[in-house]
Amino acid sequence: MDKVLMKGNEAIAEAAIIAGCRHYFGYPITPQTEIAAYMAKRMPKIGGTFLQAESEIAAINMVYGVASAGLRVMTSSSSPGISLKGEGLSYLAGADLPSFVVNVQRGGPGLGGIQPSQSDYFQSTRGGGHGDYHMIVLAPYSVQEMAELTVKGFELADKYRMTAMILADGTMGQMMEPVSLDLQVAEPPQKPWATTGTNLSRKHNIINSLSLVPEELEKLNVARYERYKIIERDEVRYEEYRMEDADVAIAAFGIAARVSKNAVDEARKMGIKVGLIRPITLWPFPKAPFAKAAEHVKQFISVELSMGQMIEDVKLASECKVPVTLCNRVGGMIPTPKQVLEAIVAADKGGKL
């Protein structure tokens, strides 16, 4: 199939349709409205449902309804809207329902701004709502990955009966790049647990997150974390770039990784041995490459569009064997390659900026 130029937001929408999603619920918020606009145009033509909900809260609960019925379903929003969806995300986790959610982040807290940000890292990698749970968090860094990880997200959500979230940012959503939509989609699994009507031929199914007996609720939580262990073993994704002989390693995802790649190339031209570890799954976090790198680099630099959130996972994964510093911009600002390069030069000299 020919490559086409698409915005990241549109690529997510089309990839979701390719993945078999026929139900989309959302509420307008910048910078992700292209997803809703795309769905509003396409869904009626393919027998699907696009519904603009009265709120993000309603939208995530409509997702809960379709997921209960066993179908692929999604919603999308940006940071403040994701906070509203937090309740629903927790209930989806408690009821072990598969769902697909997109967060095209903007600067916060509060109403914040509308420019790109990565400051919902904690919120998403730590679950996003109340209770012990995780979501699978996928961080694309190109329009092509927006499409591919969307398909992956639907598959993982079904496979593990949980929410998969794309954690992108305003840049990823708004930028256009060539994308191939020649995407492979696995057949969804059977869902015998779905509430589709008993047809009077089986015991009734119940979708529920309530469990008033502590012993039972404990068991449910423990079982969920057993499942998470499998995910941590089997589903970790990351990219290593020029890491083989690196003395300095950058950790960055999404747009920060794009900027960092430029800086790595520039630094290499100057003779500095620097590489990049780019987590693609933010949960499960790719601990192994950081543990390995900690044996040969003298410093990690976490490049983020936040006040330093992923840096905590970098420290945990590398067990603080070498210093981890932060190179960041926030509030909708994006670090420049030059800023990252300066951090690399300083790290290479062993100093701290």
């Binding site: 130029l5 509308i114 708004q174 256009m176 747009i255 900027v259 430029n262 994006i334 420049t336 390659p337």
Partner: protein
């Protein structure tokens, strides 16, 4: 190995994003790596609009153009804001109907085209952007002509196919214009 970083800037409604899209599509048709990134804001019309476009033989790193090889400035605030950012040896294309001052930099090439006036004189008032694009096509040797129509066909939706002809004519006017 070459990479050209464009920054298009002007008022919302001048077709800044469209011009950028055309260049990106042209890169795509020419089998290059491309990215297109708009500034986005709460205002839909009349505010400042800009977009970053990168056309490269190698994969595009950061899609954000902060030091353009090519600046396309369609109003004075854009020139004021981005003139100093242009790479030494870079090129500034500007709409001299709307920008009365000269470029201060001496280490860049400047092409001043009265695009808005030409557009209005030729009864195509909304196509100053494409007149400037015509000039860009003429000046950038490696940016060839062969794929112009194909790229235009991609950026103009089928619904507006009747606009193809006038867009091509606008580019021709820009191409033919000499200071």
């Amino acid at each position: 190995m070459s990479t050209t970083e464009f920054l298009f800037s002007g008022f919302g409604g001048q077709g800044i994003l469209f011009a950028g899209k055309f260049v990106a599509y042209k890169g795509l048709v020419d089998d290059k790596q491309v990215s297109w990134l708009p500034s986005y804001g709460p205002e839909m019309r009349g505010g400042t609009a800009s977009c970053s476009v990168i056309v490269s033989d190698t994969p595009v790193g950061s899609p954000i153009v902060s030091e353009p090889d090519v600046l396309v400035a369609m109003n004075l605030p854009s020139l004021d804001r981005f003139e100093s950012a242009v790479k030494p040896g870079g090129i500034i294309f500007m709409d001299s109907s709307l920008i009365e001052r000269k470029v201060n930099r001496t280490d860049v090439r400047v092409f001043a085209v009265p695009a808005t006036k030409l557009a209005s004189d030729n009864d195509m008032p909304t196509l100053a952007n494409m007149i400037l694009i015509g000039k860009i096509l003429q000046v950038l040797d490696d940016f060839g002509d062969a794929s112009v129509a194909a790229a235009l066909g991609k950026v103009i939706s089928a619904k507006h196919a009747d606009m193809l002809e006038v867009n091509l004519r606008a580019m021709q006017i820009g191409r033919a214009y000499q200071d």
